[in-house]
């Protein structure tokens, strides 16, 4: 059996690393309203919320369409949770899309 990540800070950082390195994810963001962060000693991991039944990941995306990016994040984070023996679901929230991505998508539509 793999080493279980019992430390929530370690888990949050692992989730953040997996989600952040997924193609199409610009960055993790704490979002509007009450910031979604995981507090760790001496700091915080933004955009990762370790809920009781789900691990939520809040991202800013830099490309369209969004579905492959979201699927990629879910797969990457699920792999981390499975490796840690964590039964929680993965929840992806797209908090923002970069302006360039919106402009590019608009340009492409104009070409037709």
């Amino acid at each position: 059996m793999t080493d279980e990540i019992t430390d929530r800070g370690t888990l949050a950082r692992a989730v953040a690393a997996a989600a952040g390195s997924t193609p199409g994810v610009a960055r993790l963001v704490p979002g509007a309203g009450v910031p979604v962060v995981t507090q760790v000693p001496g700091g915080a991991v933004p955009g990762v919320g370790l809920g009781p039944s789900a691990v939520s990941v809040h991202v800013a995306v830099d490309r369209f369409p969004l579905e492959p990016v979201i699927t990629g994040v879910v797969e990457a984070v699920s792999a981390v949770l499975a490796g840690a023996g964590d039964p929680r679901r993965v929840e992806v929230v797209v908090e923002d899309v970069d302006d360039e991505a919106v402009e590019r998508a608009a340009d492409q539509r104009d070409d037709y």
């Binding site: 430390d7 929530r8 800070g9 009450v34 910031p35 979604v36 962060v37 995981t38 507090q39 760790v40 000693p41 001496g42 700091g43 915080a44 919320g49 370790l50």
Partner: protein, 164 residues
């Protein structure tokens, strides 16, 4: 499962049900046995309280610790020259320490605008980790009492009235 655990222990070679029953919930081997054949280790309440207090303060969502009056007295005391910050480390912490286990109660003040659930989860996890790691005691419970919420700018003088 219990049999395999006891069988691997070197000090109990042929006694699966030895009289001093090993702690069933001590699944991780980091919990040092505080009572050994060659002597006993006692850890004072203050030690556990200090470790717990420092661990709670490591979480950025904790503004300060302690109940209302004691907290303000602590702030005054900190201004007195020559007073060490040792007394403030245990402020807002009360502990019960047994031979192998510890129970911890914390009074904390958080910042406005944060998830209190997240802060208390982070505090609880860090306090358990630090106390178990540093003292070898099993932390059975960490009760967190969110005593107040700190609103930035609240302590400053009231702003100008909006109407004259």
């Amino acid at each position: 499962m219990a049999n395999t655990a006891t069988a691997t222990k070197p000090d109990t070679p042929a006694a699966p049900a030895s009289p001093p029953a090993p702690r069933s919930n001590g699944s991780v081997g980091t919990h040092a046995s505080l009572t050994s054949a060659n002597g006993q280790t006692r850890i004072a309440d203050t030690v556990v309280a200090k470790v717990a207090g420092m661990a709670a303060r490591e979480i950025p969502g904790v503004h300060s610790m302690g109940k209302g009056f004691a907290r303000r007295m602590g702030q005054l005391r900190a201004l007195v020259p020559g007073s060490s910050d040792v007394s403030t480390a245990t402020q807002g912490v009360s502990v019960e320490v047994g031979e192998r286990e510890a129970a911890i109660d914390l009074d904390i003040v958080t910042w406005y605008g944060q998830s209190i659930v997240e802060v208390s989860e982070a505090v609880r996890a860090n306090v358990i980790q630090r106390v178990e790691g540093m003292t070898g005691l099993k932390v059975v419970e960490v009760n967190i009492n969110v005593d107040d919420i700190f609103v930035e700018g609240e302590d400053e003088e009231p702003s100008q009235p909006r109407v004259q």
